[in-house]
């Protein structure tokens, strides 16, 4: 095992903070109008229904106000008319790293993507601004009928599979940002796992913002057919620009009868990114959906992964870790909508606020009249490191029906002086002791992540903790 100091030396703490000069073949310009959408649709050579879908969404986006009556006023600092909505080099996703343009390849190499692909992934997609630069899946999966491609390609090649579910789990009008995404979406992963196919290694997507004032709006739709199983991971980084950047994704998961989907996010955007993401899954009879959501970066994150438990005996789970440092607001949470009997859900959310950081848990659990025997368990724990750190908790729980039960617990605390004293008395300095205590706080949750991610996560947390004591 590496010592603390060695561990910190081996990782590049600002590894996302670099960018290459911009030379884009396609650029939809600044601001959002009907022309922007026509341009995107034309570049992508989309079917007319997709274009219509986009135009309708633009209308919804314009009509919906920012939800500042319950969310932060910081949303008003997003200037939609100064954002660039589509940028691409005109690349087709390459199947081999050798074909990827040098600067893009170097970007992903510096982030360690090809290396992880070789080590433990079943498939990788790497998105650079609006479009994927690289997309590859192991050959045997392709033979089994697994589909893993970008949104444009998938809607063009397999409309019969994706169109019935596209925009159904998260309708355009769900919120202002899902409408925005529906209008200008580009990139993301569309995945179909056929009946009974169990993908053993995870599929991964990597999202990268390279250009300043650029908004990334990827769209992901994962369908696991009856009895299928899949794990999907996503990571995101962006350089630290002067101006703020917007990332607004829509992620829809469909788990058909007895299917299992696990969706893992490690969000490490730089601290100028507004990260406003809508994620929801639909779980049919006996299906299981697990969201593992880790938010470390961004200026403001608003994200509440949800599961609509639509079939009898379906299970939903959200495990969430949020870390808010100076100037950051992590407004995260979970939604569990129990629409069928004997469904169960579990939410475990842990947050750490450092310096003037603010973390918020916002949740919804809903059990309507005609369901029976449903269960939900929610635990939220918040850790406050400094005297000026802040945490808020806002759950909303509605229960009716027969034999349904919900329990919600939340607690707020700081690292106890006794713990720190004990560790210091054993020879650790205060910073190390604090870091260890914080790692202990999130340890149960981190264990739920795949090994490679949990190591990375622990390091990220250690880095964020640096300088927070004293």
């Amino acid at each position: 095992m590496l010592s603390e100091a060695e561990t910190l030396n081996t990782i590049d703490r600002d590894k996302g903070n670099f960018h290459f000069k911009e030379d884009y073949a396609y650029d939809a310009g600044v601001g959002l109008t009907e022309e922007t959408i026509e341009y995107i649709s034309k570049v992508k050579k989309e079917a007319d229904w997709v274009r219509q879908f986009r135009l309708k969404a633009l209308d919804v986006f314009r009509r919906k106000p920012n939800p500042t009556h319950w969310a932060t006023k910081d949303l008003e600092n997003i200037h939609y008319d100064t954002i660039r909505y589509y940028l691409s080099k005109g690349q087709q996703p390459s199947r081999s790293w050798d074909e990827v343009p040098d600067d893009v390849k170097e970007t992903f190499e510096r982030l360690g993507i090809p290396e992880s692909e070789r080590k433990f992934l079943a498939g990788v997609e790497a998105q650079f601004d609006s479009e994927a630069a690289y997309s590859r899946m192991k050959d045997d999966l392709e033979k089994e009928g697994v589909i893993f491609m970008g949104s444009t390609e998938a809607l063009e090649k397999h409309p019969e599979i994706f169109k019935p579910y596209f925009g159904k789990v998260i309708p355009t009008g769900d919120n202002k940002y899902s409408a925005l995404n529906s209008a200008v979406f580009s990139g993301g992963s569309f995945i179909y796992i056929p009946k009974g196919v169990k993908v053993k290694q995870p599929l991964q997507a990597y999202f990268r913002i390279n250009a300043e004032s650029f908004g990334q709006f990827e769209r992901t739709l994962i369908i696991a057919d009856e009895g299928a199983e899949v794990t999907y991971m996503e990571g995101c980084t962006a350089p630290k620009f002067e101006t703020s950047t917007l990332h607004s994704a829509v992620v829809e998961l469909v788990a058909l009868k007895d299917a299992k989907i696990q969706y893992i996010t490690v969000q490490n955007w730089s601290n100028n990114v507004f990260n406003l993401v809508t994620k929801r899954a639909m779980a049919e009879e006996g299906a299981e959906v697990k969201w593992i959501d880790c938010n470390i970066g961004s200026r403001l994150t608003m994200k509440y992964p949800g599961v609509v438990l639509k079939g009898k005996g379906a299970r939903g789970e959200v495990l969430s870790i949020a870390l808010a440092n100076d100037g950051q607001q992590q407004d995260t949470g979970a939604k569990m909508i129990h629409l069928a009997s004997d469904t169960s859900s579990n939410i475990i959310a842990k947050s750490i606020s450092i310096g003037a950081g603010q973390s918020i848990y916002r949740g919804q659990v809903h059990m309507p009249k005609d369901v029976k025997g449903c269960k939900n368990n929610t635990e939220c724990d918040a850790l406050l490191i400094n005297t000026n750190s802040r945490t808020d908790t806002y759950p909303a729980i509605t229960v009716t029906g027969e034999g349904n039960s919900v329990q919600h617990e939340a607690s707020v605390s700081k690292v106890s002086a006794e713990q720190i004293f004990y560790m210091m008395q054993r020879g650790l300095d205060e910073g190390q002791a604090m870091s260890l205590a914080v790692n202990g706080f999130v340890n149960d949750l981190i264990k739920a992540f795949p090994m490679e991610y949990s190591v990375e996560l622990k390091r990220l947390i250690e880095m964020e903790m640096e300088g927070s004591v004293g």
Partner: protein, 447 residues
């Protein structure tokens, strides 16, 4: 029936300023000014909608204020409808019928000598103007019902004023019963309690409506000021009939080393909105907020609470328990706010709901906003059914299901009743029952 000189003059159509100037012409000018000011604010504020965050999950009747009229009681016709249990053990009992005092409570001579004031609000404005002036109309709800609070302030005509000077302990409780007898009548009960440093006092407020008083509107307000080292307990029992629209907009202020316990028993009403905010503003202070609710039929209980900690070394504990039957609905929305300077705060908030029928609905929104780090704060919310195992145990002992369930609900609520003083609990137990099969107060365990 009470003759009403304002026929067809509902609250929304009232010529506020001229009505206020005429009806309250004998008020001191500063009170009159407050009333007119409040009326203006009331008129300027829009009716809340469910889209307002503070009205989430609530059923809002947009035409509520078009449906009720002001009581203009003929004092000669009024008398207490029943001998009330709250009266029996009270040190003093104020019984208001349609906002008119119908009893003549006598103040013990010893308390008069110590400078204690226990008076109806109306008399206090005449005889104790200097004592009441710093406190009256000083506080407004922050929990969403501002419009209704201003209306209350503009039109309140009576209530209870208790002022306990430094180091005086009032033994036994002071009771006020507010009863409405008129149909579609508005009533504005007001309780104002000031306990100066190290004083002690207990208050018991009861809100009732006569069974034939259909569609009344009761907008009660209670403000309790607990100065340094003082101790105040206030219990509010609400058992209005099931056609009543009720608001209870309460606030408490707890200074250094002071203690305040607020307990609510909620049984009646068609829609009952209860806003309870306690400001914990002195180091070493301690606030407790307890409530139990038994909801059945189509009743809706909408409870909003707020625990604000602004000083270090403070403690607060909240426990709201709801038992729901039939198609009843409850909303519990609570918030603990711990300010930057309130280090070493312990604050707790618990909401427990038990659903006895499949069509009952419990909503729970327990919230925390914490800006200090050296704190112990937690909240918990649970909603569930009666335990099958416990029920099985009763049945296996030969106790029929109906009685077993009754006992289990009684047991569920006992966690709140055991925190009440026996005298307050007895008052609740002996409440006149409403029109249904069994008196709800039978759920309140004897001790």
């Amino acid at each position: 029936m009470i003759p009403n000189t304002l026929v067809n003059n509902t609250l929304n159509h009232l010529e506020g300023p001229s009505y206020i100037e005429e009806r309250f012409s004998s008020d001191p000018t500063w009170v009159l000014k407050e009333r007119l000011d409040a009326w203006e604010r009331f008129s300027a504020l829009a009716m809340p909608t469910r889209k307002d965050e503070q009205w989430r999950f609530a059923t809002v009747n947009r035409t509520l204020l078009d449906e009720v009229e002001l009581a203009m009681p003929n004092e000669g016709l009024l008398k207490a409808s029943t001998e009330l249990p709250a009266a029996r053990e009270a040190l003093m009992h104020f019984h208001f019928v349609d906002d008119v005092l119908v009893t003549e409570p006598e103040m013990p001579e010893a308390l008069v000598r110590q400078g204690v004031i226990i008076s109806s609000l109306k008399d206090a404005l005449i005889h104790h103007e200097a004592a009441i002036r710093p406190w009256l109309f000083q506080n407004t709800t922050e929990l969403g019902s501002g419009k209704f609070e201003y209306l209350h302030r503009a039109l309140v005509s009576n209530g209870l004023f208790v002022f306990v000077p430094k180091n005086v302990e009032v033994s036994g409780h002071i009771a006020a019963t507010y009863e409405v007898t008129g149909e579609r009548t508005a009533s504005f009960p007001h309780t104002l309690v000031v306990a100066q440093d190290h004083a002690r006092v207990q208050i018991l407020d009861s809100y009732l409506t006569a069974s034939d008083a259909q569609g009344s509107y009761v907008s009660a307000s209670a403000h309790v000021h607990v100065d340094q080292g003082a101790r105040v307990e206030r219990t509010a029992i609400q058992n209005t009939n099931i056609s009543t629209n009720l608001f209870q907009l309460d606030s408490g202020f707890v200074s250094r080393d002071a203690e305040f316990q607020s307990t609510a028993i909620n049984l009646g009403g068609k829609k009952a909105r209860y806003e309870n905010q306690v400001s914990i503003e002195g180091s070493g202070s301690n606030a407790k907020m307890y409530a139990l609710t038994v909801a059945d039929g189509k009743q809706e209980f909408d409870q909003r609470t707020f625990q604000t900690h602004t000083a270090p070394n403070t403690f607060s504990d909240l426990l709201y328990k709801n038992a729901l039957m039939d198609q009843a609905r409850t909303v519990f929305s609570g918030l603990i706010r711990v300010g930057d300077d309130a280090q070493q705060t312990d604050a707790y908030q618990t909401n427990r709901n038990i659903l006895l029928d499949a069509s009952a609905e419990a909503n729970s929104l327990p919230g925390l906003e914490i800006s200090a780090n050296d704190v112990k704060c937690s909240h918990g919310a649970t909603t569930g059914k009666l335990s099958e195992e416990e029920l099985f145990y009763f049945l296996q002992r030969g106790i029929p299901p109906r009685i077993a369930k009754h006992l289990m609900v009684t047991g569920f609520l006992e966690e709140v009743t055991e925190k009440m003083r026996p005298s307050a609990l007895r008052a609740a137990q002996n409440l006149p029952s409403r029109t249904w099969g069994h008196p709800l107060s039978s759920f309140l365990a004897f001790r």
